[in-house]
């Protein structure tokens, strides 16, 4: 184990959506840290698992035994692999970030723009890791590229350990050799594209002093039991931001056969007055069943670059 640095401890938090590979990203960084000789710990947290739901994963590395467990409330490095989460208040992805946090956002926007728009504390960098993944892996899976950015930001993980960790973790989930080699290539590209940022000398001020213990008093069952009286609010959750590609129907060549209308599993396709299918982009998750089902193949797949 590495002994010569005093009390180095880094907490990395990953934010993404189910299916994007954040759990694997946290594991790659954990394994890379372990290979570098650090004490390491990694784990994901999620609720009722489903693709597209916001998930978090964590990695801790230290040159001393780690006397912490559970979520990282005040991350040293905060990786935001899905920029649409910035707008989702319930996902709370900036919670606990502070002057000493380095935030990395996966976006094509400039870092200064993100910092201003969302009032991000601490230092910030932006890298379009989705673009790297699409170019090299040909799929928007972000595990290796997000892990690579995090490794670079730690300042203590070498490319060699990163590469070895990508191979180990992706072999463990039974990926084919050629997919793994594309992932290592993408990881190295992401490592090179991520800037080196030094950690600030700021110390996290005692957050606990602002918090205090309170005594709960009895409330009637209306308040004191876990019952919900509010009407459904799921319609206010727009699922369209889970999408990386959007289906586009060419109405010039569409025969109005309704195959897409019938097969959309989320009823996001409706028919207009003339019988043409129209897609509800606010809620379409981009599953592309419509494209597969279209007998005339007039539905295409377009990459969306988010504008927020």
């Amino acid at each position: 184990m590495i002994q010569n640095q005093n009390n180095m401890m880094k907490g990395i938090r990953f934010h993404g959506r189910g299916g994007q590979g954040m759990k694997t990203a946290s594991r790659i960084v954990g394994t890379a840290s372990f290979m570098e000789g650090y004490f390491a710990q990694d784990f994901p947290i999620y609720g009722a698992e489903r693709r597209g739901a916001p998930i978090m994963a964590f990695t801790r590395l230290s040159n001393n035994p780690i006397l912490e467990r559970g979520i990282i409330a005040n991350p040293d490095i905060n990786i935001i692999a899905d920029e649409t989460l910035l707008k989702d208040n319930a996902a709370n992805i900036l919670q606990g970030t502070w002057g000493g946090t380095i935030t990395l956002v996966n976006t094509h926007y400039a870092a200064s723009h993100v910092k201003e728009t969302y009032q991000v504390s601490g230092k910030i960098a932006t890298v379009d890791i989705t673009d790297i993944a699409l170019k090299i892996i040909s799929e928007p899976v972000l595990s290796s590229v997000a892990a690579a950015s995090a490794c670079k930001l730690t300042g203590v993980i070498s490319k060699e350990s990163l590469e070895e960790a990508v191979v180990k973790e992706l072999t463990d989930i039974n990926l084919k050799k050629e997919v793994i080699s594309k992932n290592t290539q993408a990881a190295l590209a992401s490592f090179d594209n991520t800037p080196s940022i030094s950690f600030s000398d700021l110390k996290l001020s005692g957050e606990e002093s602002k918090n205090r213990i309170i005594r709960l008093r009895y409330e009637g069952p209306y308040v004191g039991s876990a019952s919900v009286y509010g009407h459904g609010n799921t319609i206010t959750k727009k699922t369209g931001n889970w999408r990386l590609f959007k289906p586009v129907i060419d109405h010039e060549t569409c025969s109005r056969c309704r195959a897409c209308f019938v097969s959309c599993p989320h009823s996001c396709i409706s028919l207009d007055e003339s019988g043409y299918p129209q897609i509800d982009y606010e809620n379409c998750k981009g599953c592309f069943i419509c494209m597969d089902e279209c007998p005339k193949q007039v539905i295409s797949k377009e990459r969306e670059v988010r504008a927020w």
Binding site: G30, A40, F43, G47, N211, I213, I214, R215, L216, A226
Partner: protein, 407 residues
Amino acid sequence: MVKEMLTGNLAAAWGARLAEVDYIPAFPITPQTEIIEALSKWIDNEVMDAKFTNMDSEHSMITAAGTAAATGARVFSATSSQGLLYGFEMLYNIAGWRVPLVLINVSRAVAAPITLEPDHNDILSARDTGIIQIHVETCQEILDTILLAYRLSEDERVLLPVLINMDGFYLSFTREPVLIPDKKKIREFLPEYHPKHAFFKASKPMAQGVAVLGGSAYSYFKYQLHLASLNAIGVYNEVANDFKEIFGRSYPAIEEFMMEDAEYVLVMSNSFTVKGKAAIKSFREKGIKVGLLRLRLIRPFPKSELRLLMNGKNAVAVIDQNISPGSGGILFNDVSSALYHEKHRPDVLLSFIGGLGGKDISLTEFNYIIGEMQKSVETGIVPETQLLYTENDMRQIDKFQKIAGKM
């Protein structure tokens, strides 16, 4: 010997694999499923030689585990929370059959309201079944404790099932470096199981779990179970010593942390203990003489060991990660009753409930506990059981209540 990044679940699967178990009846439940997934994969790949059966429920699973153990097989299984409760009556049965086996419980708070995160109401509900209970803190400890548990369980002086508890998420899905010990050393520590007691064989008919109407027979056998459980304390200490000699890792029934010269003592269990240890370190830096005891062996409850460690201390605070509504913390009652007749018992004994449903126990909470202990020592007034709950927690609840249409 290899060191690898393993989740608690995978460490548990490795423990079963290294113990060379014969039979695994299984039923999935979050956050335990990865254990049986790993085992079924290994058996399918033929790196492990055992019989794996998917059951229709935890009730059947625990029944199958007990009956298989009664044939002399080495049996392993795992469950969690609602699953453990679904099979509950069989827990009493397999203990009464006096069959050795190891069952993992991956702690998850019990519904309602339903959640996936841990506290210990699930496992502690099984404290009166007669099954031995060991609660662990780290992923390494899970693997090691499985090996240790088979030695304990199969000992003729004990012959009781063992439940090992580990926290969901904080251990089950958390990876950390785990040493996977050598087979040779394991065989030295844990020999093959050759039962002298219960084993069904075609040529040797026998009956288990028979009806015993009239209280004298029932009382006799039930108390034998109690005596066997009490025996398990001594046997545990023997086995833990052997383990330390062979593997170098030490697992006393109660773990001490910075207890030397401690005037104040925190009592905790399971994975959240690590948060307590971090807090103790920061208090020590400020010159506060505080230490921590982690209860590892929960049933049987190691009373004499506890008395030795606690006598002469100024104040003790038990943090129960469970709640017995209408009473308070479950382990607090065990601790306080063990100390009542001690001449040099601690001056004050405080009870706190924290970490329910996986709620964090932060430094704010630990600071509060130390403050309360100091106050009680000074005034002699000891408060009733208190919940560790903060203003920030309340703010979050207010937000949820609003979404739920209540405010």
